[in-house]
């Protein structure tokens, strides 16, 4: 593990005021943070000698960090402050990482743009007129703008990988359960997992190893089999998803180039098509919205959330709190989820989607008998403009066709920066069998030798280097 980023960042963190001021200044046009801890009060209590000592991290605002707000990008939680740390945050902090702020997201993680946030839109550091992707758009933009070396996100249907692709950074969605969900505000419990975003594969590897493993506070958490952490066998056979993929020109070119790059490494490449391909997204949205309608029942102005000043009775209070507190995308998904779970419709939608989920798992499982990895685009397009100019809300959902299968099948997937086309980054995913994180990261490292990630021109120098240079100049 390379410790050099820690050393550089640590010296910067030592002067809290200068760091938070510079962070705020640099974030003005990107708007990736919803809250920045000016005093870096969390820096005090953390380990001084851990493997992540002094490393600032950004945390998506649907993950609990004690003393920080936890708004989930929603009006209904606008004044909520977390009294405890999520397990992933606690484990990274125990290793020395310092949470410096909370990042913007689509409300409750529902969206692909970070435009659906009560905290305003986040802008893509490569082109401020474009979205950063979503729902972990703030975390991806914060890393791409060089504000922090590592950020935490959550991935329910692509919410770490798609913004990572849009912003040109690595985004790891680990095996379901390998990172505890304790302290993640639940949207679709059977699909989601915390994820990591960075330019630095070593940092993702280190943070994953520190944060992964069983947690008594999350009964769906699982221990990573020890053998999986050993140096992996070389990747020999890779499947590239073929067929009519509906990619834009940049993504299609990057995907072709990636295939050539993989072939040039002496890896056997085959093209595969999935029989379940057309059913992935509808099954995903059926399950995700059904689970959301149950999980978001707790935001009712009584158990959690802002409540109206006056109501005639408890039921009116709940209706009014939810009516006023949720944004339109959240309302849409709650309504859909409630509908597909209504008696009489369950077999047609929810049960059927869960059986399709089984079919997808079987089909992918079969492919992994032959192939070490499956590679596929992260998203069909590069980052789109704000305001649904290229893709409307419905088309954005259909475009989740490459990311949602990893969630349905609980598999790890890594979005890899695959070059810059017309000034915008493209991400290509590698998806592996359960617990193959190390294989994914090592393979990405191999590819990075020929195709290293790039930083956006306007944010070419990480903040730590800029500050270190400035202080060096003064002394």
């Amino acid at each position: 593990m390379s410790l050099s980023p820690n050393v550089r960042w640590k010296s910067v963190l030592a002067s809290a005021d200068a760091f938070s001021q510079a962070l705020r200044e640099r974030d003005k046009r990107v708007n990736s943070f919803l809250e920045i801890d000016a005093a870096l009060r969390s820096a005090g209590g953390t380990s001084d000698s851990g493997p992540l000592a002094g490393l600032p991290i950004a945390v998506k605002d649907n993950i609990a960090v004690r003393g920080f707000q936890l708004t989930c990008g929603s009006k209904i939680l606008s004044s909520h402050v977390s009294p405890y740390d999520a397990t992933v945050v606690a484990r990274l902090a125990a290793a020395g990482a310092v949470p410096v702020g909370k990042t913007n997201l689509d409300e409750f993680g529902m969206g692909s743009s970070t435009d659906n946030s009560a905290g305003g839109s986040t802008n893509n550091p490569w082109d401020l007129d474009r979205v950063a992707g979503g729902s972990s758009g703030g975390s991806a933009a914060a890393v791409a703008a060089g504000l922090v070396p590592l950020a935490l996100g959550t991935d329910t249907g692509g919410s770490v990988r798609q913004p990572a692709a849009f912003c040109g950074v690595y985004g790891l969605k680990p095996t379901y359960g390998s990172l505890s969900r304790y302290g993640l505000v639940a949207y679709a419990s059977s699909l989601e997992v915390a994820g990591l975003l960075s330019y630095d594969i070593d940092l993702i590897r280190a943070a994953y190893r520190i944060a992964a493993g069983e947690d008594v506070m999350d009964q769906t958490s699982v221990g990573v089999p020890q053998g999986e952490l050993l140096p992996p066998a070389a990747v020999r056979r890779v499947a590239f998803l073929g067929g009519e993929l509906g990619l834009d020109a940049s993504t299609a070119a990057a995907y072709r180039a990636m295939r050539e790059l993989v072939e040039s490494q002496g890896v056997t490449v085959d093209e595969v098509e999935l029989e379940t391909a057309d059913y992935v997204v509808p099954a995903y949205y059926t399950i995700a919205t059904a689970e959301a309608s149950a999980n978001l029942a707790r935001f009712n102005g009584i158990r959690y959330g802002e409540r109206p000043v006056f109501a005639e009775n408890p039921e009116e209070l709940v209706r009014s709190a939810r009516g006023a507190g949720f944004g339109s995308e959240v309302k849409l998904r709650i309504l859909l989820g409630t509908y597909v779970l209504r008696s009489g419709f369950q077999e047609q939608y929810y049960q059927r989607a869960q059986r399709i989920r089984t079919a997808i798992r079987h089909e992918l499982g079969k492919l992994y008998e032959t192939f070490d990895l499956i590679m596929l685009p992260t998203f069909p397009t590069v980052a789109f403009h704000h305001g649904e100019r290229e893709l409307d809300a419905f088309q954005q959902k259909v475009a989740d066709r490459f990311t949602t299968m990893a969630n349905l099948a609980a598999l790890p997937a890594l979005s890899i920066p695959a070059g810059i086309y017309d000034g915008l980054p493209v991400g290509i995913q590698a998806m592996g069998p359960a617990f193959s994180e190390e294989r994914l990261l090592s393979f990405a490292e191999l590819l990075a030798k020929d195709l290293p990630p790039a930083r956006p021109p306007a944010y070419g120098t990480p903040l730590c280097d800029e500050l270190a240079d400035a202080s060096g100049g003064r002394s």
Partner: protein, 97 residues
């Protein structure tokens, strides 16, 4: 989905909708439900539903008092500090009767 189905669903979800929202959501929900009907195109007979991806069955733990007494107390204090109104260590809520 027609307007009355939408209203019944909103009723079940305990969520007030404005007239504007009802119009927009009616269209959006109908569009997605139609999209969901794509799922009719695959034969899923004989496939068991997946409710959890990797884990088999429930995992239980003993119902015992947390041993980190001080941390638990600090957590309780932090939560109480956020309550809009307190009476001693009780959260005071608006009268609902």
């Amino acid at each position: 989905m027609d307007r009355s189905e939408l209203d019944i669903t909103a009723e079940l979800a305990l969520m007030d909708l404005t007239d504007d929202e009802r119009g927009q959501l009616e269209t959006a929900v109908a569009q997605l439900l139609e999209y969901f009907s794509v799922m009719d195109g695959i034969d899923v007979s004989g496939l068991a539903p997946t409710t959890r991806a990797l884990q088999e069955g429930n995992r239980l733990r003993s119902d015992v008092l947390r041993t980190d007494g001080e941390a638990a107390q600090a957590l309780a204090d932090d939560i109480l500090e956020q309550a809009p109104d307190l009476e001693d260590r009780f959260i005071a809520i608006p009268n609902v009767l």
